[in-house]
């Protein structure tokens, strides 16, 4: 599996005791607590610059995580409660969001085991366990990590220098959350946010209500809409996900279904390296006249309200481009780091949801 470094990417640290100054700062700040109370080994941290073109939409996939604050292995499981091995020494409810007091929402990320790559929101915790929003069929010794979700305030922090709205109706930059759970293709906006008067605001909410803590799930892209003509460069920093990613992909019996997805990878991933073909989440095509599932990528170029246009399907052992000669191999086409994409599922009986597992092996 090959990963290509996009222009400008920088990765810091690689389990090495000799680190550059800036990396030392990061490593020192970000060493997570672990179940034994000892300092964990350094992780890889990186920075990925993403340019949001002026007067255009950028479908942003966040390529890095906020560094883990806790790592452990699973000791035992009881439905939605995971008890950790060892001596976690957690503080009760330290991972519970409380508006104005504890502004972060946390999730449990499985780094190994059958659930490797899956994300579960934490709703509560004791000194030894966490309670998840959904039951997790984990097994003992699965490696897990606890990360804060990115939020509007943490991903688009003031350090990014994004323009704030002087007037609520004239918003230079909007962050749009697509309705990813909706049926059909090309989902529309579910919520629209903008920064104004010192906080993130939501279109349609009270003008003085703050939405800084709105979470941005790692497997879902957001759309950065630039209503201003000037470009903006977002420098996204965080921890590189070394383990597998497991993304839910659903189909519908009533028609094609778009899955607007984000790979938490700081590197371009080619279609050949994606692991999609042959996974249970992607139906290969046997007849180019009856294309099954597609990977649909956003073409470059300016403009708002862009829809993904470059569709690829898997046929006869290779990736083909819709509208092109089906004998031409497009396996080297990449899902760009930092850019969202679509898996467009063909109709499928039973409305199934399958997980696509993408592994990291640079």
């Amino acid at each position: 599996m090959k990963f290509r470094f996009p222009l400008g990417i920088r990765l810091f640290g690689w389990r090495t005791p000799v680190l550059a100054g800036s990396v030392l700062t990061l490593a020192g700040l970000l060493s997570p607590q672990d179940a034994s109370g000892a300092t964990a080994v350094s992780r890889i941290f990186g920075a990925v610059p993403v340019v949001a073109d002026g007067a255009a939409d950028t479908v942003l996939s966040v390529p890095l995580k906020i560094p883990a604050v806790f790592r452990a292995t699973v000791g035992s499981v009881s439905e939605s409660t995971i008890t950790f091995s060892g001596t976690p020494n957690l503080t009760e409810d330290q991972f519970v969001y409380v508006a104005g007091i504890q502004p972060q929402t946390y999730y449990l990320f499985f780094e190994s085991g059958d659930l490797a790559g899956r994300v579960f929101t934490i709703t509560g915790n004791s000194t030894t366990s966490v309670t998840l929003a959904a039951a997790a069929a984990a097994t003992a010794d699965d490696a897990v990590a606890i990360h804060p979700y990115w939020t509007l305030a943490t991903l688009f922090s003031s350090d990014q220098g994004l323009a704030s709205a002087t007037n609520a109706g004239e918003r230079p930059i909007e962050v749009i959350l697509p309705a990813v759970e909706s049926d059909g293709i090309n989902p529309a906006a579910e919520a629209v946010y903008y920064h104004g008067d010192g906080a993130w605001r939501r279109v349609g909410a009270a003008f003085d209500a703050a939405f800084d803590d709105t979470i941005l799930p790692p497997d879902r892209p957001v759309v950065v809409r630039m209503n201003q003509d000037e470009d903006a460069t977002l420098v996204l920093t965080g921890e590189v996900t070394m383990s597998a990613l497991s993304l839910p992909v659903r189909a519908r019996a009533d028609g094609p279904q778009d899955n607007l997805l984000s790979l938490t990878r700081p590197l371009d991933v080619s279609l050949d390296d994606s692991g999609l073909a042959g996974s249970g989440a992607f139906e290969t095509t046997t007849d180019s006249g009856q294309i099954k599932d597609r990977v649909v990528l956003y073409a470059g170029g300016p403009g708002q309200n862009r829809v993904p246009t470059d569709a690829y399907f898997y046929l006869n052992g290779g990736w083909r481009k819709e509208g092109d000669d089906p004998a031409t191999d497009h396996g080297s086409v990449v899902i760009k780091a930092g850019q969202g994409f679509v898996i467009r599922k063909a109709e499928q009986a039973g409305d199934p949801v399958e997980y696509w597992v993408n592994t990291f092996n640079p």
């Binding site: 007037n167 909706s182 049926d183 293709i185 090309n186 906006a189 579910e190 629209v192 349609g204």
Partner: protein, 573 residues
């Protein structure tokens, strides 16, 4: 009969229907509005109802009745309903999102959209109710709001509708929608008829600046007028303002000088607009110094007559420059110079560079660099007459050059051939059409200031139909600081206007620091490129706005003192 809750439920059902079976894409529409009003013109309360409605079939909207917000018999559908008591919380403004609408719900791309607001309705209202009033708005062209109010193509992530009236202050810093459009004063049961289009648009320049646009009001149901401006031929229209109902004129103060504009007038109410009135192209007003001249003693050495002038702009400028002596004598000026010569220098040339144009006899021109090849004697006579200059007699020894000069600074030296001396006059005429984007903006003449007829006299003509502000300076003491010998110690400046051959005093000044607007003079001097006058000096200066006309600036000495001096005329704006 549906109440608002049912409408909300209906919308939800529609959305759910779309979500349940759609294989198509969705669309989302954001709506931002200010300033929404109630029926009395106050800010709409935070308890009213807003509806975003689409006409699904006939592209027409059936208006509310006492019992129904949207008549059930119509093809209109509610896309989104908002109860302001649910959020927002600021009177007169609104921001909302209609999320993930489906085209499988009975409407299609291109269907027109309308925003309704009912200030007195609540979520439990079954209809507007007897005596209620409402407001409505749509922008069918996108001129006012930037977006055409119709459904976008399927799959549009977010379509933004902005409804900002000109009195918006919170959602936007003013909008292009006339304020009346925010009113909720429409009575129920009254049909809105098409609005009559204005006719007879005429644009004219105002002397004080700006353009006055007039039209004929042909509507009896307009809410107001939208005034747009376009650089003639560009096809790009920009909203420059609005006018109230029954208005027939508008003053546009945002124009640029020497630009051809067209104006388009649209009668509007909240749901309809009608445009017929488009004015003919108008070259906007301008003011320029079309002619400047200085009369003075032409002596020898440092006391020859030296005129400097500046051409500012982006295009080359045709100028006619004359050095008059003998012809002054014909007009009765005593001691006139008998045989003047004129030498022209560029300020950008070095001090040892020879003049790039020379003439000693207007009937014997010799072409050289920059000369315009129409300048034989007959043509110069015609041109001079056209520019308003007095004629030169055949055989006179007055000197003339006629050139096209690039923007920059120039110096014209007037001498007596063979060292002769006498009273001379140097004149510079702007010989171009006013549309040329360059102007002569300054003349400065250095000469000897005597007494009586031998004082230094500068003349200038403000052309066009617009007043101009000028700075006129008469400099003596400060000039001495530049090494000029024998400068006049206390100059006195007077501006007169020629009114039908009679000179009327306009302004005088002895010491510039005593002027009422003395504080502005150093600032303006710096702006126009003049060197600073010494604080407390006896130099004279007048900063004044003058209407088009013929003017004279006379520089004499207080108490009859004499000496070398400098008179300058700057066009300020």
């Amino acid at each position: 009969m549906n109440n608002i809750s049912q409408f909300l439920k209906t919308s939800a059902v529609l959305a759910f229907f779309g979500l349940a079976v759609s294989a198509s894409a969705g669309i989302s529409i954001s709506v931002d509005a200010e300033k929404l009003q109630d029926g009395s013109g106050g800010a709409m309360p935070t308890t009213g109802i807003l509806l975003l409605v689409v006409s699904t079939e006939d592209d027409d909207f059936v208006l509310p009745t006492v019992d129904e917000f949207i008549p059930a018999s119509s093809d209109d559908l509610i896309l989104a309903s908002w109860d302001l008591s649910d959020g927002g919380g600021v009177a007169g403004i609104f921001s909302g999102l209609a999320s993930n609408l489906s085209y499988e719900s009975g409407y299609d791309e291109g269907d027109p959209l309308m925003l309704y607001w009912f200030p007195n309705a609540t979520k439990s209202s079954t209809g507007p109710g007897t005596g209620a009033s409402y407001g409505l708005f749509r922008d069918d062209t996108g001129i006012l709001t930037g977006s055409v109010w119709e459904l976008p193509s399927d799959g549009t992530l977010l379509y933004a509708l902005k409804f900002f009236t000109e009195d918006a202050t919170q959602m936007a810093a003013g909008g292009d929608v006339p304020a009346f459009a925010g009113s909720a004063a429409l009575p129920l049961g009254v049909a809105l008829s098409p609005v009559g289009a204005p006719t007879g648009a005429v644009a004219s320049n105002l002397t004080e600046g700006g353009v006055n646009v007039m039209w004929e009001d042909k509507a009896n149901n307009e809410g107001g007028y939208l005034v747009e401006r376009s650089v003639a031929g560009s096809g790009i229209w920009k909203v420059v303002g609005t006018a109230l109902a029954n208005a027939t004129s508008f003053v546009d103060l945002g124009t640029t000088e020497k630009t051809s504009y067209e104006y388009r007038i649209t009668a509007m109410n909240s749901v309809a607009s009608s445009t017929e009135a488009v004015s003919a192209a108008l070259l906007t007003s301008f003011g320029r110094i079309a002619n400047i001249s200085t009369r003075g003693q032409v002596l020898t050495g440092a006391s020859i007559l030296i005129g400097g002038f500046v051409i500012e702009g982006t295009e080359d400028k045709s100028v006619l420059i004359r050095a008059i002596g003998p012809q002054l004598g014909v007009y009765g000026v005593a001691g006139a110079l008998t045989d003047p010569s004129i030498e022209l220098y560029r300020s950008s040339d070095g001090p040892t560079e020879p003049p790039f144009a020379v003439n000693t006899n207007w009937e014997n021109v010799v072409y050289s660099e920059g000369w315009i090849p129409l300048a034989n004697a007959a043509e110069i006579a015609l041109l001079t007459a056209d520019l308003g200059g007095f004629p030169l007699e055949a055989g006179s020894k007055d000197a003339v050059v006629f050139l096209k000069l690039s923007p920059g600074g120039y110096t014209a030296k007037v001498k007596g051939v063979g060292g002769t001396t006498g009273v001379g006059l140097v004149e510079i005429y702007d010989a171009d059409d006013a549309a040329v984007l360059s102007d002569v903006i300054n003349i400065s003449t250095r000469g000897n200031i005597g007494t009586a007829a031998d004082i230094l006299i500068a003349g200038f003509v403000i052309d066009g139909d617009r007043s101009k502000t000028v700075l006129v300076r008469g400099i003596g003491p400060t000039l001495g600081g530049f090494g000029v010998a024998g400068t006049i110690t206390d100059p006195f400046l007077k501006i007169q206007r020629n009114q039908g051959g009679t000179l009327e005093d306009v302004a005088t000044n002895d010491n510039w620091g005593d002027a009422a607007n003395a504080a502005e003079i150093p600032v303006v001097s710096q702006t126009v490129g003049g060197f600073p006058l010494e604080t407390g000096s006896a130099d004279a200066a007048i900063l004044i706005t003058l209407p088009p006309g013929i003017y004279t600036a006379k520089l004499s000495g207080v108490g009859g003192v004499t000496g070398n001096g400098l008179v300058e005329v700057y066009r300020v704006q």
